[in-house]
Structures are given as structure tokens and as C-alpha cells.
């Protein structure tokens, strides 16, 4: 039963495992760069999942070539099932760009944190923040 579920929903299992890995790194790691890596794994797990939704075995790209038109008689209907849906991939392309932007902003922030406080370890950073307010 469980094996069937895992095989049948391979993409779901994969994204949940990756997501939890990312979540662990975000909450459990002391180093801010590792937290950022965790955040990235978290984001990519979702992107992988949505891309997997658009995958279809044996399907082709959704482009109807001009000569295919000529080859098929007009009474034959084009089978939608033969074509893969490109939209999930296109959407995730945008999401990847957003993810790159987020990573860029986060790295810039980390750079400034390091210049300002001289550390990227969370416990040391909190110590220095506390002594700064005192």
C-alpha cells in the first residue's frame, strides 16, 4: 500500500522530502548562509514539483507543424493527449527568476551583516546585537 503510494506519487514524495530538508536547514542550522541554502532547497522543491506536473511520458512539444497539417486529413482531430502542457514550465521559469532575485537580495544582506558584525553565526550575531543595544 505504502510502496504503491510512493511509486504512484513519486513526485509528491520527492518534493516533500526536499522541502523538509530545506525546512530543517532553515530552522536547525546556526549559520545564516546554511539557512539561505535551506531556503533555496525549499523553493526549488516546489518548483520541481510543479514542473513534474507538466511532464507526460511519450508526449511531444505542443507545436503543430505546418507539414503535419498537410499530412493529416481535415477530418482527423489532433489528439490533445499527445502534447505536453508547457504552461507549468513557463510559470516555473518565472518562479525561478523570482528565486534568483530573492537569493541575490539575501546574499547582499548577508554581505552587509558580515561587514557590520563580523560573523554569520546566528548565536554570535545575537550576542553582538544585544551588546550593541546596551
Amino acid at each position: 500500500m505504502l510502496t504503491n503510494f510512493v511509486i504512484g506519487h513519486f513526485n509528491v514524495v520527492a518534493y516533500v522530502v526536499l522541502m523538509m530538508l530545506g525546512f530543517y536547514a532553515m530552522t536547525g542550522k546556526n549559520n545564516l548562509v546554511k539557512k539561505l541554502v535551506g531556503m533555496n532547497i525549499f523553493q526549488w522543491s516546489i518548483i520541481l514539483f510543479v514542473v513534474s506536473l507538466g511532464a507526460k511520458r511519450g508526449a511531444t512539444i505542443p507545436i503543430v507543424l505546418a507539414d503535419t497539417h498537410a499530412a493529416v486529413p481535415s477530418d482527423v482531430v489532433l489528439e490533445a493527449a499527445q502534447y505536453a502542457n508547457p504552461l507549468p514550465h513557463v510559470l516555473m521559469l518565472t518562479a525561478i527568476v523570482v528565486g534568483v532575485g530573492t537569493t541575490g537580495v539575501a546574499l547582499a544582506l548577508l554581505l552587509r551583516i558580515y561587514r557590520q558584525y563580523g560573523t554569520l553565526e546566528e548565536d554570535e550575531l545575537l550576542d553582538r546585537l544585544r551588546s550593541a543595544t546596551r
Partner: protein
């Protein structure tokens, strides 16, 4: 289908967007031009939202199909009365705060006006885009535009601002990722991203797991973005460490827009019966809102830093809005939406006051505000009006939104929530009266040896570009209260779902 089409709503979003890309170039060539261009773009945005609101009120919802592709294939902008109200609110507040920021940015971030206003305009286009769009994935993109720019703006503040901003990046990205996951789930079963189209397809699929899981992720993702109680950890640091103008901007807009998105998803994309009965998320939200109202207020009482106090008060006010959504009857939702608008105006005003005080005196400690009423009478007056509204004293706007919430709680016989609304108002009274007491009555502080010295009472008001926006917002707090009936009947009543108990 006869739809009213107009390209004007696009200007509200695209005006600031194009100006944002123009600004770094112009700012590099002539730095003094950055501010006028930003103001021009925001004025265009404001003008367009006034025109849009007129059209929406006279002819009904306004649509625009991007590139001429009709929905559900193309991206659609759709403005209904509630959206028109939100756009008016966003474009007017962002314009006022931009005028205000002229002096405070010169002082806090010298020589960086070009990049600052560029990011500012991008944030505005992201926020207005969330409200205008009728496409789920497009909303994700706008959500991330507004989030990324607010991370950058918060980090501009000195000291611990970078650390607060990084915390916000991590949590905000988790929120956005959940939203994206939800969109993926919904798309996988419906094959559509258009909100109106989804609303038609979804009812047949309410029993499927994918829809239920997707809905759950949507609510959690947006709850993180709006800093609802257990997910509020990013908010106090982000609001209190950011530059003054930025604090006012994000406190007035970002969480409100996320709350608006939640209303859209819960009651317009999904049918109200789904979020009330099939997955009882409204009951859960009411309780989370109620806890936020109490804990946010208690934390606010404990603060000595004015901006941090206002930030915790925001956590409590989000609770009011969410409670209104969670009550899920006509009066409750009206109260929640009205409070959303009112809170944007009054919290914006309060943060502008805090910024003006820092600009003139450098004081952030509440106990250091003694003699403020003599030194900056207009600023202290604006604070007092907004604080009265936060407490809920008539005829200020806060009174009416709380009245609707109380009516909503009474109609659905949730007496516990009614009690919590009243109790939280008393807590608000405690922390705001404490500040007003220091401003107006220079009594010696209890812990006189640690408290900062009183201010010099000679009159030294904030510059006019800071004072005028603050005063306009304070006046708006009263006007929104006086004309609350108009706002409710014109903008809010028409969008309350028909199935709600009246």
C-alpha cells in the same frame, strides 16, 4: 458577456513600474530629478485610480485583458468596488509618504535618492498589482515584487535593520513558496489560473484532496505575509529598524494587501461555504486573530521604543482584520475590510509622527517625549487623533470599524470575541494614553534616573513637507470615520458575498 473594458487600471501599476526603471538612469545624470519623477509617477497612479474608482462606481467592475488575450488564457486585470477602494487607499498613501520622505531620506540616506525612489516605485507597482490582477500566478509575481523591494527598503535602516531584513527574507520566502505550491495544486486539477474561471471550476472539485491541500497552503502562505499571530516574528524588527518613511510605507500597505488577497481567495476564488463549512478555516482564523489582538497589545504595552510599540500594535490590529474575516457574516467582514482601510491610514499616520519626532529630536524612547506638545504641537496633535482612532473613540474611524466587528460578533453570538474586542481596546488605551501622557503632561517619569531627559520646549516643528502629509492622514482618520457609511455602502456592501448572514 458584456464587460466594461478600460486600460486606465493598467496605468496605476505600469506608471510606477516604468518610472522605477527610468529613475536610476536619470538619477545618475541629475540626482535632483529623482524626487520630482517619483512624485509625478505616483500622482499619475493616484489620478488613474481616482478615474478607475469613478468608472467602477458608475458602470460596475472594470476589466482589462493584457495583450488582448481573453481570460482564462490571458492575464486579466479586474477592478471591483473593493479593489477600487484598495487602489485609492494605496496610491494616495504612497503618494503622501513619498512627499514626506523627501526630507527624512535626505537626512537618513544622503546621496541615495535615485535607488531609493526606484525601489519605492517598484514596491508601489507590486502592491497595486496584487490588488488589480485577476490571475493567481500574476498575483504571486506581484507579491514577490512587493516583498523583494520591502526587504531592500528595510535593510536601508541602520544598525540591526539588515538582520531584521534577513529574517523577513527567510519567512517571507516561505510564505510566497507556500502560495506558489497552492497555485500549483489548484492548477493541477483545474488547468486554470484566472480567478473568475477558477471560481466556476472549483465547486465540482471541493471534495478532492488537491483542492483542500492547495487551499490550506494558500491561507498559511498569505497568513505569513500578513504577519498573523504565530507567524508575526518578522514584523516587529522589520518595522522598527527600517528608515522612518519606509516603516510608515510598509506598515500601512504590505500586510493590508496580503489581508486583501486572503479575502479575495477565501470568499471570491473559493465559495464562502468552502472556507466556512468544508474546511472550517474561518473558525481557526477567528481564534488566531483573537489571540493576536491580546498578545500584540500586551507586547505593545511592554515596549519603551515608540516604533517597536507601534509595530506590536500592528500585530494586534491584524488580529482585528482577521477576526472580521473569520466571523464570516456581513457585519464582521464589513468591519474587517473597513478596519483594513482605517488601520492603513492611522498606522501610516502614527509611523509618520514617529519619523518626524526622530527627524527633529532623535528620540525614540517614549519616556523621552516629555514637552513634545510644546515643541511640535501639530505632530503631537496628529498622533493623538490617530491614537484615539486606534483605541476606538468616536467620531474617529477606528470606532466605526470596531463597531461593525462587535455587531458581527454579536450577530453570530460569539460573545467571547466580543469580549476580546473590548478587552483589546482597553489594552490599546493603556499603551496609547501612556504615550500621550508623556507628550502633553511633563510629569517626572517613575524611573527618573534611567529615563532620558525631557525635550527642549521651544517650538521647533517638523519641515512642511513632513508636516502636511502627516496632517492630511490625521484629517483622513476623522473623515473616514465621519463618512464611514458612504464608504461601506459604495465600496464594501456590493462585494459582501450574497450567502452571508446580514
Amino acid at each position: 458577456m458584456n464587460v466594461h473594458q478600460s486600460g486606465i487600471p493598467v496605468l496605476i501599476v505600469a506608471g510606477p513600474l516604468f518610472a522605477a526603471f527610468l529613475l536610476p538612469l536619470v538619477g545618475w545624470w541629475r540626482r535632483a530629478w529623482a524626487f520630482p519623477i517619483a512624485i509625478a509617477a505616483l500622482s499619475l497612479s493616484f489620478g488613474a485610480s481616482v478615474v478607475t474608482a469613478q468608472r467602477v462606481l458608475s458602470t460596475g467592475p472594470v476589466h482589462y485583458f493584457m495583450g488582448g488575450w481573453t481570460p482564462p488564457w490571458g492575464i486579466e486585470f479586474r477592478i471591483d468596488p473593493l479593489g477600487a477602494l484598495m487602489l485609492l487607499l494605496l496610491s494616495s498613501i504612497t503618494l503622501l509618504i513619498a512627499i514626506y520622505s523627501k526630507h527624512s531620506i535626505l537626512k537618513e540616506l544622503p546621496d541615495r535618492e535615485g535607488p531609493f525612489y526606484s525601489v519605492y516605485l517598484l514596491l508601489v507597482s507590486g502592491l497595486t498589482g496584487i490588488v488589480a490582477t485577476a490571475d493567481m500566478f500574476n498575483m504571486y509575481v506581484f507579491l514577490e515584487i512587493s516583498s523583494l523591494t520591502s526587504y531592500a527598503l528595510i535593510a536601508l535602516g541602520g544598525g540591526a535593520a539588515v538582520v531584521s531584513s534577513f529574517r523577513y527574507v527567510i519567512l517571507g520566502t516561505v510564505g510566497a513558496a507556500f502560495y506558489l505550491l497552492a497555485v500549483g495544486y489548484l492548477y493541477s486539477v483545474t488547468g486554470s489560473l484566472n480567478m473568475a474561471d477558477l471560481a466556476q471550476i472549483l465547486p465540482a472539485l471541493y471534495e478532492t484532496n488537491a483542492v483542500r491541500v492547495g487551499f490550506g497552503f494558500l491561507v498559511i502562505g498569505l497568513a505569513i505575509k500578513m504577519a498573523l499571530f504565530p507567524m508575526h516574528a518578522w514584523l516587529p524588527g522589520a518595522y522598527s529598524d527600517a528608515p522612518s518613511a519606509v516603516s510608515a510605507l510598509i506598515a500601512a500597505t504590505t500586510t493590508k494587501v496580503a489581508a486583501y488577497a486572503l479575502v479575495r481567495v477565501m470568499f471570491f476564488v473559493f465559495e464562502p461555504r468552502f472556507s466556512i463549512e468544508l474546511i472550517p478555516v474561518t473558525a481557526l482564523l477567528s481564534w488566531m486573530g483573537a489571540i493576536a489582538m491580546i498578545l500584540g497589545s500586551v507586547m505593545a504595552i511592554a515596549q519603551t521604543d515608540l516604533k517597536r510599540m507601534l509595530a506590536y500594535s500592528s500585530v494586534a490590529q491584524i488580529g482585528y482584520i482577521v477576526l472580521g474575516i473569520g466571523l464570516a457574516n456581513a457585519d464582521g467582514l464589513t468591519g474587517g475590510l473597513l478596519h483594513l482601510v482605517n488601520h492603513a491610514v492611522m498606522k501610516g499616520c502614527l509611523f509618520l509622527v514617529a519619523g518626524a519626532i526622530v527627524y527633529r529630536t532623535g528620540v525614540r524612547d517614549i519616556r523621552g517625549l516629555r514637552n513634545l506638545s510644546a515643541k511640535m504641537p501639530w505632530t503631537a496633535g496628529a498622533f493623538t487623533i490617530s491614537a484615539f482612532s486606534m483605541i476606538g473613540i468616536p467620531p474617529t474611524s477606528g470606532f466605526f470599524s470596531k463597531l461593525y466587528l462587535i455587531l458581527g460578533a454579536a450577530k453570530s453570538e460569539h460573545w467571547v470575541f466580543l469580549g476580546i474586542i473590548l478587552f483589546s481596546s482597553v489594552l490599546a488605551l493603556v499603551y496609547f494614553v501612556n504615550v500621550i501622557r508623556y507628550m502633553y503632561f511633563p510629569s517626572p517619569a517613575a524611573d527618573a534616573d534611567t529615563a532620558p531627559p525631557p525635550l527642549d520646549p521651544t517650538r521647533d516643528e517638523a519641515p512642511l513637507t513632513m508636516l502636511v502629509p502627516t496632517t492630511i492622514l490625521a484629517a483622513a482618520v476623522v473623515l473616514l470615520g465621519v463618512f464611514n457609511g458612504e464608504i461601506v455602502s459604495r465600496f464594501i456592501d456590493t462585494v459582501i458575498p450574497a450567502s452571508f448572514a446580514r
